[in-house]
Symmetry: C2
Subunit: 350 residues, 2 copies
DNA sequence: CGCCGGACGTGTTACGTATAACGTCGCGGG
DNA sequence: CCCGCGACGTTATACGTAACACGTCCGGCG
């Protein structure tokens, strides 16, 4: 390291680099900017680069933004970061962003009540664009009004406010899950459905209904629940102790809910998967931490965030190509098996 | 696909506000800046505020930063965001930051090998200060060199590079945990210790050793493990099947590891807590998702992040007051009980 | 030989804000 | 009466960068 003196490191400016390299400040900008390839001779360009390296030059981003009007910063709006899923979405988005010298700043949409804090004040950064989960309904109205490029994650295709949309093929995941359960012989299924008004959950309910529609004897119930272990426990208890024949499978909208459901099943003296099958969604770390491990649908969370960022970059480049829905995969594990009443015609559990 | 003809509302500037209010641009800055209270008459000040509201004026942050030299942005360096713990730390830090018109941008230190990406390039934002977990060793050297105010989270007090430090009272948590286990009658304890070279984990090992030092018959072993369910499973298996008398309690450095340990215990045909007690650390959502629920040490993750941000703000204000260590609390749950060999002199399990 | 045009650099400007420096005005004390 | 001072406003400037608009030099073509 060279910058030994200068207790206040007094960041080098492009003018300092220019002086050191014996050129004008404009030349420094031309060289380091990367555009205008042939604009400066190779010799001087190299001198500039050397001087910049020597001085540890870092362009002043505030000045650059002021000049260019762009900030190379995107806002990621998520319902709540404390969930592992969105932490992974962020990671994926940030990775792609970094490859393009972009930053990602988070806006965790306040889950509780109260007036949503102004997303822009809160972000305390000027933004080039926004990537928003459809689950963060609260903050969306303010964002739409801003006129910024907006990429929606898992949103209603009919929503026209977005500049682009990236979707997971949730419906296909539900179909795989339904096929898995019905293939095992399950007919009475209760859907522990997230009580969140969001496209991604609406689609699950619809796809599930469609998947079971043609099947003789299929009975589908719906039990709303919040997205927590405890809420899942309560919902499962309600579903299992209600009137009518007991379901043989609980299809949960989230691994966390499924974990709660497992606890409820056991508290009723029932076994998983022998008496009741339970399935989750997302494939969080939690899915393999509980016993038995959860049959679940793996959502490519990081790739989801990455795709969102790519879409935003494309929009900013003026080349918005609509990406296909991201595939999801069923991960069969120990929490599903043929129902007790099923005859042994299908030996294939686990 | 909307912003085609780019009717960008051409963000209002302070000069526009000045014109609308019939004052000079400087007056606008004086009024909206909030400092210099008596500098402008109440009447004109109100006119300025009204005009600003009317035009939807938002100060250009790039210009402000360029002028003031500060950005009101802090960098939070975490080992990996996908862990619930650090997601909560972020949330706490962001909350305090928002109260002071600060933003928080994340730098997830690359966990894998490879040269750590430049934190500053990656953040793509100019920074006023840094809050860093001691677990993110990789990125620290570059950060120290930057000469930015640096607040360390859970770091060695001997480390002098930091402007301030915020610590959890981890040692006390370990003491509580050890007292809980020995009080139940446990004497042979194996520590499933994180194989991460970080102050916070070193302190756990040391405190545990100290807590068991005076106890006759106490036997403490150490089994290193990575921080994942699977690694915890393997480590617990090793610990339980090794030579010598089997431990009666597994003290894990993390809830995730404890979850893995539980699985190992059961695969060996042993019961929790009757045969083996297992304890975790952190009190993540996962702790109550597994069965039995984990006895663990609750770390105030959000408050931890909030305290870090407060400390950074204090440093920036020039009033760095050293905060006390944040208290942690033992949460006894179902995964601990007296060991099999213990006589019934102490009836108090759960 | 004169002129044109490409290659290579440089001077200059503007981005929007915060604030130092500089008036101006009215009033009260000397 | 005049000076000075406090209250109120304004003018001017600088922050560091990107990029436009000009040169200047030189080789080649008519």
């Amino acid at each position: 390291m060279t910058s030994h003196e200068a207790p206040p490191p007094a960041r080098a400016t492009s003018r300092d680099v220019a002086r050191a390299a014996g050129v004008s400040q404009a030349a420094v900008s031309l060289v380091l900017g990367g555009k205008w390839p042939g604009r400066v001779s190779a010799a001087k360009a190299e001198a500039v680069r050397a001087a910049a390296r020597e001085l540890g030059y870092r362009p002043n981003l505030a000045a650059r933004s002021l000049r260019t009007g762009r900030t190379r910063t995107a806002l990621l709006v998520v319902p709540a970061l404390t969930t592992e899923f969105f932490a992974r979405v962020y990671t994926g988005a940030a990775r792609i962003a970094a490859d393009h010298d972009f930053g990602v700043v988070l806006y965790p949409s306040p889950e509780g009540t109260g007036p949503a804090r102004d997303p822009f004040a809160s972000a305390s950064a000027a933004l080039d664009g926004v990537i928003a989960s459809s689950m963060a309904a609260g903050a969306l109205t303010a964002l739409r009004a801003a006129g910024l490029p907006l990429v929606m994650l898992d949103s209603d295709p009919g929503d026209t406010a977005a500049s682009a949309a990236v979707n997971l093929d949730i419906a296909d995941g539900v179909r795989q899950l339904a096929a898995h359960l019905t293939g095992l012989g399950h007919r009475r299924i209760t859907h522990l459905a997230a009580d969140v008004d969001s496209w991604t959950f609406a689609v699950r309910a619809r796809a599930l209904r469609a998947a079971l529609a043609g099947l003789p004897g299929a009975v589908l119930h719906r039990q709303p629940t919040a997205l927590s272990v405890e809420a899942g426990l309560r919902a499962a208890h309600t579903a299992l102790t209600g009137p009518g024949p007991r379901p043989t499978a609980l299809l949960c909208d989230d691994d966390v809910v499924a974990a709660g459901a497992c606890k409820a099943v056991r508290r009723l003296g029932l076994r998983i998967p022998e008496d009741i099958s339970v399935t989750g969604f997302d494939d969080l770390a939690l899915a393999v931490a509980v016993e038995p491990e959860l049959t679940t649908v793996r959502l490519p969370a990081e790739e989801f965030g990455a795709a969102g960022m790519r879409a935003l970059l494309a929009v900013l480049d003026g080349t918005p190509a609509e990406p296909p829905a991201l595939p999801v995969t069923l991960v069969p594990r120990g929490s599903t098996a043929p129902p007790p009443a099923a005859n042994a015609t299908r030996p294939g559990g686990r």
